[in-house]
Amino acid sequence: MHPLQPILDRRGELGKEPGLHALIVGVSEYRHLPAAGAAPDEIKKKFGMTRLTSPALSAVRVWRWLVHRQDKLTAKLATCRLLLCPSPAEIASCPELKDFPSGASFEAFAEAAAEWRTNAAQRATDVTFVYFAGHGVQEANTEDHVVLLEDFAAPGAALRNGVRVSEILAGMAPRDEQAAIARTQFYFFDTCRNTPEQFEKFAMAQVGSIWNVIQTQMVDDRACPWFCAAEPRGMAYAGKDHQTLFSQALLACLEGGAGTPVDEGDLERGWAVSVASLAGGLPTHLDLLNAEAGANQAPSINRYNGRPVIHFLDAPPPVDVTVTVTPDDAVPVTRVAVFDEADDVKCDLGPPTDHPYRDTLQAGDYRVVATVDPAAAVFASKRTTLKARPPHSPLQLRIGR
């Protein structure tokens, strides 16, 4: 297969149904950068950057998730383009990587992006999904975020094989020539956003350009949230199993860790992951991964627009619930029962279980009754409610005297 052809194309099958067009890029093996173990001077000369060992496999995991959930996305998966440049370590860990078309140069990216845009410009009800993992920098003069392709740091201007995120987004805006372009666009950039010391001295950064951005009078009415793995001038990290922390957090959220009711007033309509719930869930999941990895990565969200659903879940996701009874002397004499709508007891918590009480419930709304042993007349029983929402719902039960 030609590397620029969609690795998946269901347009014929979907017919007139809205579709999602994905562009997934994972660049690990930067051919002009030194290996991680190279001499410090050599690394410094190359802007402090080395070849990576996690973006390509992270991209494949995102691609697999898209394919797995292809009919549960906000629009069914129609096309998917995958540009990969895996490291030997990733191939050793996942030999399947050898079977994918390889190559994520600037030229390849520009061509794939152009074809992806053409596919996405047919119907305003279509959806786009971009995931880019690799190196990225923050420009010193323009504050633009630049993602770097496989041939970054080739001879010539340092950033000529990079692309400004703002240019990608601007080129996907509605205009006369692409009036029907998808109005819902999701972007995920899993890269660092630091500014290498050398870049601060550039009087003018010569960044590569993948398309002309054309003036228009059309209103830009897209919902196009842009999630980044790092804050401006922040770093992004990878964890175990050749997977970036951001992609781990993203996939955990998409699989239900950022689940939210489709309609808060009517839980029977099901559960989904929306932009709003992802914006809330990503930092929480990333904090957990940070703690494990000893990292301090913080995601950022631009052009936040909470409304669009990204993905519909098959069932209410599981939620870790922690119930804390206060004051301390109420704990030995209080039992806590959690009831569902049908008045069935979903958990019964109390001594001798270790306090605070932990359990896992299906996401939903519950009634909570804290019953105090009648012998402990100094305390009064209490009723309250619990909204169990992923990933974790704490409940503080203050027992009155």
């Binding site: 001038r233 808060e264 839980l267 709508e341 009634r367």
Partner: protein, 392 residues
């Protein structure tokens, strides 16, 4: 520069503790733009005098002074610039403020940033109402009172929002700058065809470009824009009313309990971003107008509370029962978290009923004729909740 911009100053009381530093600009009168009915000049681009900007800015100012509640960062300073279209009343709090020229703006912005840079837990709020140019989704240019002068660069009396926001980023010289920053803009927008991306660089920089540090701000930018000639009524705009409605509780969320176990409610950066579009959409349905609201955030989006409510908000709840006739002659009750029945009444209609109840989670019990009871948990959530109970 005439008049003073600093209207509120409690810095001495706060003694270096975090505070909220607000900067409010309202521009109705543009001396270099034509009046209604006058022909365009070569630098007016269809823009005219406005009648709602100062009123909107004043409404926001009054809300800050009278309603804003943030114990972690109480209102410390508020700077105001206003270009009045009509002579202000003597008791107008904006009567003698500086007039929103480019110079007025630059001086006030300088002082505002200096105050905001004293504590990272402070809050910086910027509010602008007036004419603007939306060059792209991200690039918004704000036009000062003296915009449209016949000489000099076309955008010399204009400010590029991105430079304003960029200059408020943490930097080595301002490592303690407020990390919570809210920007609210309401502009009449010029179709960007008049300007190229590069032409807009002719705006006046608010401050010198410095290399920022790690940008760990929680920044929310709310930008509402309408086309020239749309509603130009005197008084606060629809957007300003929706914003204040949101801040007063319609965009509130529960943020836990106080030491007595009573629920705490606040409007957070996230809940404002989620709730305001709903209020605007509802306003569109009622008015038939369709202003464009662009929401964007930078840095990390955090649910930082920006206004604490004294009481839980009251929510309009619409209850619909399916099938509609099944419960007629039966009974419905809403029981709150503590077991208190808030609503208990006979069902005597098949059309959806609307109730006003305190925000929170309820047990809704519908008793159908014959005695069968269907129970559902439903949340009354600002600004409006639709509850559907299916009896099948």
């Amino acid at each position: 520069m005439t008049g003073q911009s600093l209207r509120i100053d409690t810095r001495a009381t706060l003694q270096g503790r975090p505070g909220t530093h607000a900067f409010i600009v309202g521009v109705d009168h543009y001396p270099n733009l034509p009046k209604d009915g006058e022909p365009d000049t070569d630098r007016s681009f269809g823009l005219r005098q406005l009648r709602w900007s100062v009123a909107s800015a004043r409404a926001f100012y009054r809300w800050l002074v009278e309603e804003y509640s943030n114990p972690a960062a109480p209102l410390a300073t508020c700077r105001v610039l206003a270009s009045h279209g009509e002579q202000p009343a003597a008791d107008d709090p904006f009567a003698d403020v500086a007039g929103a020229s480019l110079d007025d703006f630059l001086f006030a912005a300088h002082d505002w940033r200096a105050d905001a840079a004293l504590h990272p837990e402070s809050v910086a709020i910027f509010y602008f109402a007036g004419n603007g140019i939306q060059v792209s989704k991200e690039q918004v240019v704000l036009l000062m009172r003296d915009f449209g002068q016949p000489a000099g660069g076309m955008l010399r009396q204009a400010i590029d929002l991105s430079t304003l926001v960029g200059g408020m980023a943490p930097a080595s010289q301002r490592s303690s700058i407020a990390r919570t920053q809210l920007y609210v803009l309401e502009t009449v927008r010029v179709p960007p065809v008049s300007f190229t991306y590069f032409a807009s660089t002719g705006t006046t920089p608010v401050w010198d470009l410095e290399l920022p540090g790690l940008d760990d701000r929680s920044t929310t930018i709310l930008h509402a824009s309408s086309v020239p000639g749309d509603v130009n009524r005197a008084g606060p705009s629809r957007f300003a009313r929706a914003l204040l409605d949101a801040l007063n509780g319609s965009a509130a969320v529960s943020i836990g309990e106080n030491e007595n176990g009573d629920p705490l409610w606040a409007v957070t950066m996230v809940s404002l971003s989620n709730g305001l579009p709903l209020l605007i959409a509802r306003g569109h349905q009622e008015s038939g107008h369709d202003d464009m609201l662009t929401l964007s955030t930078g840095g990390s989006l955090r649910a930082t509370p920006i206004n604490f409510l004294k009481h839980g908000p009251i929510v309009d709840v619409q209850l619909e029962i399916e099938p509609p006739t099944a419960a007629v002659g039966g009974h419905v009750s809403f029981t709150n978290a503590t077991g208190q029945a808030i609503v208990s009444e006979k069902v005597d209609t098949i059309v959806p009923r609307t109730y006003q109840v305190p925000a929170g989670l309820y047990t809704v019990a519908v008793t159908i004729p014959g005695g069968q009871v269907v129970t559902r948990f439903k949340e009354a959530r600002p600004p409006h909740s639709d509850w559907k109970i299916r009896l099948t």
